[in-house]
Symmetry: C3
Subunit: 206 residues, 3 copies
């Protein structure tokens, strides 16, 4: 695996979402294989949907065995930390938020690589970051995370737009643009949980 | 966007299903982004699955930014009509039925374009028309619409078969075949709700 | 259709899963079309996901009308056997187990054909065998079968690994390797239901 910064972000996102998948699955007391598949789906689900939509097949994890190895190791390390999930809520939120930031950039970049419209690149960044969690929630029969109360996908959209603005239009360096995007996504996501931010109400008050 | 009649049908279907997605999401009081993504998924879900199955990638809405623009405008116009959903049931049913008719033709035509077997073209028409609603229902954790009581997918199948018969075998003009297909789908769908039509019972009476 | 042993396994798996789809759908008293689509999705869902992941499009059943014909005939024959599902539990388990065995081999072989890593071939065998049932369960709003108590996907993984070992590494004949794989999958799956086998517990005892 020829390593560059984008691949590092992809690996970090994979680890972060694999951890979040393990914690979600153990919260529902799935068996060993249930935990493994939940971690796998959470980690690769968003990138898989992105690759299918743009026709980048075989999808990333089918071509590159390293994804599978990384997820197996992450699961093996995470499972023994098997305590009541309450203790881990902060870790889970941090992992998930970092994963969102990393994968947003990976998705936007892959869209740019395929020469797609900037607005579609924003959508692909959001899909890459959010749909692993959505597929996990569908499998576990929970309400998908993007439909729950606090800001989730919106954080990725804002991060992706800022990334495109700073990298493509303001011509900042790649590293600076990435730091901006990840910081914004993580701060918005954590802030929305901590301070109960939500989108403007679209319903009439009763 | 070079406009022809098929693209007009595709646009009309997209608008119709985006409206139906907004109404369904607001019925469950999702937030702004939840409404937007539900509208998007309902409008592009069926066509996306069709394009994946036949390998027409990047899928339509990734290649053509106009889908995204049309859906955004439709959502922006539909949300302010935010009243108890009961008042809109007839509008919703009409939108949904028209969408079914439009997308059935789009799906069948795309199958013909790829040189597929007529029976598979019927399946692709039905997939294009019905699976946006199915994916919407899975995301919202409802029973998928094709499994509910009244005739839904069957209307598309009948419309698609009549379309193929009139266009391919009876050599009627494209316009006439399209009018036949859309009318039949809309009439069967609305009739099935209004007069409580359903498929023959396959279970023994108790 | 040029018949070879892999295609025979594919056909047998398709029939087995179509039967299991009909029985599952009739257990929930779906209407005729609901039963048909459930049978279809159960039979082709795993192979479709596999083909999408590796980019083998149009997917198998879109290219080859015989899948559709086989499923229609199977559904037409199975529906009249409409009795309380309890009586059929053994048939259902046997069908499902045989389907798992057949499709595991089909998936592994398709991975080898595409020159993929052996571990990815094992994943593809498991996906082909298990995800028809998973998609069926998501549509019917049940807990996906791979997350239920008894061993399911693990049987496919073990079967796929033994198949690769015996065929690729020990150079046994194809036929012997196939018999080993199918027997192991079926015995593990039936044994796990009959004797209540499950994976090692990963949770602390209370």
């Amino acid at each position: 695996m020829d390593i560059n910064i984008l691949q590092i972000l992809d690996i970090l996102g994979t680890i972060a979402f694999a951890v979040s998948g393990v914690l979600a699955a153990m919260g529902q007391r799935l068996d060993l294989f249930g935990v493994l598949i939940t971690a796998f789906v959470t980690a690769v689900g968003g990138g898989t949907l992105r690759d299918l939509l743009i026709g980048a097949q075989p999808v990333a994890w089918i071509q590159d065995i390293n994804y599978t190895i990384i997820i197996l190791i992450t699961v093996a390390i995470t499972i023994p930390f098997n305590r009541p999930i309450g203790n881990y809520k902060k870790t889970l939120l941090l992992c998930d938020s970092l994963g969102l930031g990393f994968f947003t950039i990976v998705g936007v970049q892959k869209g740019l690589l395929y020469g797609l419209h900037p607005a579609i690149c924003v959508v692909l960044g959001t899909v890459t970051a959010c749909f692993g969690g959505v597929i996990r929630d569908i499998l576990l029969n929970n309400v998908p995370i993007i439909f729950r109360k606090n800001i989730y996908a919106s954080a990725c959209i804002i991060g992706a737009v800022l990334y495109l603005l700073s990298y493509q239009f303001l011509s900042l360096t790649l590293a600076v643009s990435e730091v901006i995007c990840i910081s914004v996504v993580v701060l918005i996501r954590i802030g929305s949980v901590k301070y109960d931010w939500h989108l403007p109400n679209i319903y009439k008050k009763k």
